[in-house]
Symmetry: D2
Subunit: 338 residues, 4 copies
């Protein structure tokens, strides 16, 4: 068990180390303070995130992206309702059934879409045929992922169209932003535009240099009021929450979150440039899906690269805030030399 | 908001700073490693805790005591069952309904007992009248708290009697050990004796100098197998779990957990010695429940002591691993001078 | 198994036969019609119950009182909330944990009160100490039982006071009316006054001569909209619902529900008149709680009376719509002759 | 609202009247008896169904097929698990999310298969790719429908293959038998062979001439023990259960269930014989899926036939135990004359 420390790591951004400025921020709160979210930093989060997004929001910390997504959705979806999401969304594929738990049995309604992105058409293909009767689960919300599971970014106009669709149908809109920073960095627009008018955003930090803190941003205060109770009820109200608040505020400070994401994106772009036809998806964040067969993957691994197979003749490479320029260039060369 | 930093803090051990040796341990794992619990330290936990308890166990980290308690109970109790616990147990009073969430609506069956400790008699007073029919919720488990909500320790023979009772009735036995270290230090017996033959133990660290890690120890591997799925499903499987594992292993290393608890207990004992008749409960851990009226509490606060009122003419003082000798002596003098 | 058919039955009203006029009404719908609640009679229920209660309501059929209570509460209480009810309420004591299931783990908050009736004071004794923070389960609703578990009726002014209290605290109000008919008959006021301004009423029919139908009346249409989805989701939307609608409408027709309740109440009153000091509770419906020791109970059973022991030196006798005058007089004589 | 009484009804078997012999049986239990399932008939069900199936089973009544399916599955599937079922299964499409409710958020894992029937291959296509790790919902059971949603029957060897597959993978096997009678009649094999070695069967009666009773048969007594608690907890333990037991036993008596199903199947076969190429599915029970365009459907409706559109150029016709020979012949002629 464990990853060989000598490897050139492109397995996932979810295991990278914690950024030094977050360590400093955590150290700075290492004295007794009010427990739970009563400390000064936890109390400062609403203002800091509202400023960053140019829009009033309530910001709650939690330890994981799964908790962030599911707590956000639990405020929007009644137990007898459903959530429209992409067939390959994280909440459907990788959260061990957490939405079923947090939403008390509400259902995920699976939609299609290239590159794991929903469109108004793909949403309507799911929602429109649902009869408004009690025999079928009615949608209560839509969840989109920025950047998507395949590392692709929703453009502001795409989000706006989906938000309009949601409003027209009386649905709430959630954004899973586990890699929101990478999308925002790619789009090169303000945070508020990369989020659009969603009702809640899971603002990811762990994959972007954090240790163990994510933020849930609620742009409707009524949802935040429910979420505070649900967070405690889910065992996610840490008594020393200030160590999480410290991470989150340090990320916002001087736009460290964007700086980290840009570094990861740049490494990915460098590799992408050498992949040519092998690229299976546009590279718009820090993930590369690369066509290569078993022999080729073996060859790459022999040269010290660590990454995941991705079904059939494919490999996934993920860069992180700390990906070394050298390693990225090595990988680029190795792929083009296959 | 926030606690005045100049106060002499006896509010709670749940907001104390993180112990330096835990910081070191966390720093030592600050490079990429396998995510979730695949890293070297997470994988070492079973062995380390088995050694500490002299009994084979599976050890899982989670971030909070509420998650630890509720995940443990969720492996023991079916949704249509119940858990016998004390009327003032943390799971009943202070977890925001988390047992109802994690146990899918199973019921807490409330029993009496001095100093918030259950006895075989108080358990039987709840369980025996329950008819074995489908109209009444049947007990599936018992949960006891070591040390209790009033800072009192179960003696090994008391636990043994309750465990016998549980076995005789086909019930599982869980121990909430948010302050297990304080109880073990007070009892001055090996960890395994302070736990007795429970099926699972929530081994508390956050109140004893941890940052954000607790351990759930399962002495029956079948329960741990279920818990792993439930932990993920509850959003408690952190991707950088190694920072939690580091805290937990550092606590075991050189019995730091006992050292910290002894320090907190000693401070409490020092204060207790000056309380005389004012003591409302035996002081067997790091909590003092002290009779004093509003004027007396005001007087203490004016002298810089921070603590909670505890209903009527009572105050609660809690010491921590880092309580300063000076502050404890000051408080002792202040109380005896009332 | 089974009750000796020769016994004089005072066990419970929940096992009495079905009233002939309900049989007729069921027969009358014994041809194909729209399934679920699309048939003519199901569609007529709102109007019929609104007329009976002098107040606009939506009426849904379900098969059991447990389903009625829990579906009603599920529309009022979020999963992280609580319901104030009497410590001896049916939802707490006799529904096998159904509230935990239907309310997704919400909590019953137990209050005191003579004769199993809540009062404003007993409600406030539970609700007022609950801090408005996330560590404690917040009340979302109050549930009262008309007539109470001890067969006692809330007077209209008592309900009004509780309803005012509920409104002042932002809580919904539910009434379990498993024996609502008996209470209304006793109070001799219009149905609407016996219900007061509750948000929902479980209108009991099974204990009053029905076969297998109860009504949930929602006086707020928004609650009914949720309930329709929850009813289907709970497997309580029968495809041949017309047989239930027929029972319910037949009960309203010519006030059969009151006629049946008056008959049961009269039998109870007859027995009560002979009980003297033995009566442990006021007899305001169709239940008698009678002090009598084991020898006395044996003597009664030898004379052919069937009834339940009720803990200690007590017996419970329940009359029903079809209780025979002879049997009631026999029992009255037998008790006075003890 | 309501169906025109003059129509020739092929809408659904779920709204047909109740068979006269069931009325008689219900009348015969119309005197006070032990409540819930303590009466003589409820107690006789295990033996009667064991005899009918040639295999020991425990038989529980409930009012609806949704409750039968979901209670059965709730005994087999932990909240963190999943159920493999067909993409068009009733539990997925038509039960308003009831499986999410009863199974506490467990997930339906959707498989393919012609005519809404699963095969070992289609099951393995879903199950085999699921990694045995906590990030993905693990299957705990398989649910098949006899006859399928498209009225097609599993042959005994097909069930045996699926049962072998289930056992090999450690999964439980459930059969939704809403139209089990129609399948058994079509297969012309003993009940036990039409069910195969499933762990539980939802034995449908309502669509086959019942009023409001279905049976859940558990071939493993441990599952039945859990189901009894869950049934009460779901509000499905009727106090006058004898009226349901009477229906179920009357159905078994003299194989009325098969007689009714044969009548419905015969009517369907008569119509099918005239459909030629229009038949979209084999007719192996009492449902016909017939290709016909909007104009043709209008023409049929003008001639007095009531039926459902089935998406695109299709119509569904369902016969019932009481379908009149005349009406079936009329419909056959009308279709062949299109």
């Amino acid at each position: 068990m464990g990853v060989p420390m000598t490897a050139k790591l492109f397995l996932s951004d979810n295991a990278a180390p914690c950024h030094p400025r977050l360590w400093e921020a955590m150290r700075a709160v290492d004295q007794a303070d009010s427990p739970y979210d009563g400390d000064r930093l936890s109390q400062a989060m609403d203002e800091a995130f509202s400023a960053a997004f140019g829009r009033e929001c309530a910001a709650l910390w939690v330890a994981t992206g799964t908790a962030a997504n599911c707590l956000a959705l639990a405020t929007m979806v009644q137990p007898h309702g459903g959530v429209v999401c992409h067939r390959e969304a994280h909440i459907e594929m990788d959260e061990g059934g957490a939405p079923g738990f947090y939403l008390h049995g509400a259902k995920l309604l699976l939609a299609e879409g290239d590159n794991a992105k929903l469109t108004v058409d793909s949403i309507r293909a799911v929602v429109d045929p649902i009869r408004d009767d009690v025999h079928q689960v009615q949608p209560h919300a839509i969840s989109i992922t920025q950047a998507s599971e395949y590392g692709c970014a929703y453009r502001p106009h795409e989000i706006a169209a989906i938000a309009d669709c949601a409003r027209a149908k009386g649905l709430r809109l959630h954004m899973d932003g586990a890699r929101f920073a990478n999308a925002a960095a790619f789009l090169d627009v303000p945070a508020g535009e990369a989020a659009g008018s969603v009702d809640a955003l899971s603002f990811g930090v762990v994959k972007n240099g954090g240790m163990n803190a994510e933020a849930i941003l609620f742009f409707d205060p009524a949802l935040a009021d429910v979420a505070r109770y649900r967070r405690k009820r889910a065992g996610h109200l840490q008594s020393k929450g200030r160590y999480m608040a410290a991470q989150l505020l340090a990320m916002l400070e001087g736009d460290l979150w964007l700086e980290n994401a840009r570094a990861a994106n740049a490494a990915a772009a460098e590799i992408a440039a050498s992949c040519g036809d092998r690229l299976m998806r546009p590279v718009e964040a820090n993930e590369l899906f690369v066509r290569c067969n078993a022999a080729e993957r073996d060859a790459l691994r022999e040269r010290g690269f660590a990454f995941y197979d991705w079904g059939g003749d494919a490999a996934r490479f993920v860069t992180a805030w700390n990906s070394r320029q050298d390693d990225a260039m090595d990988l680029a060369r190795a792929i083009s030399g296959l």
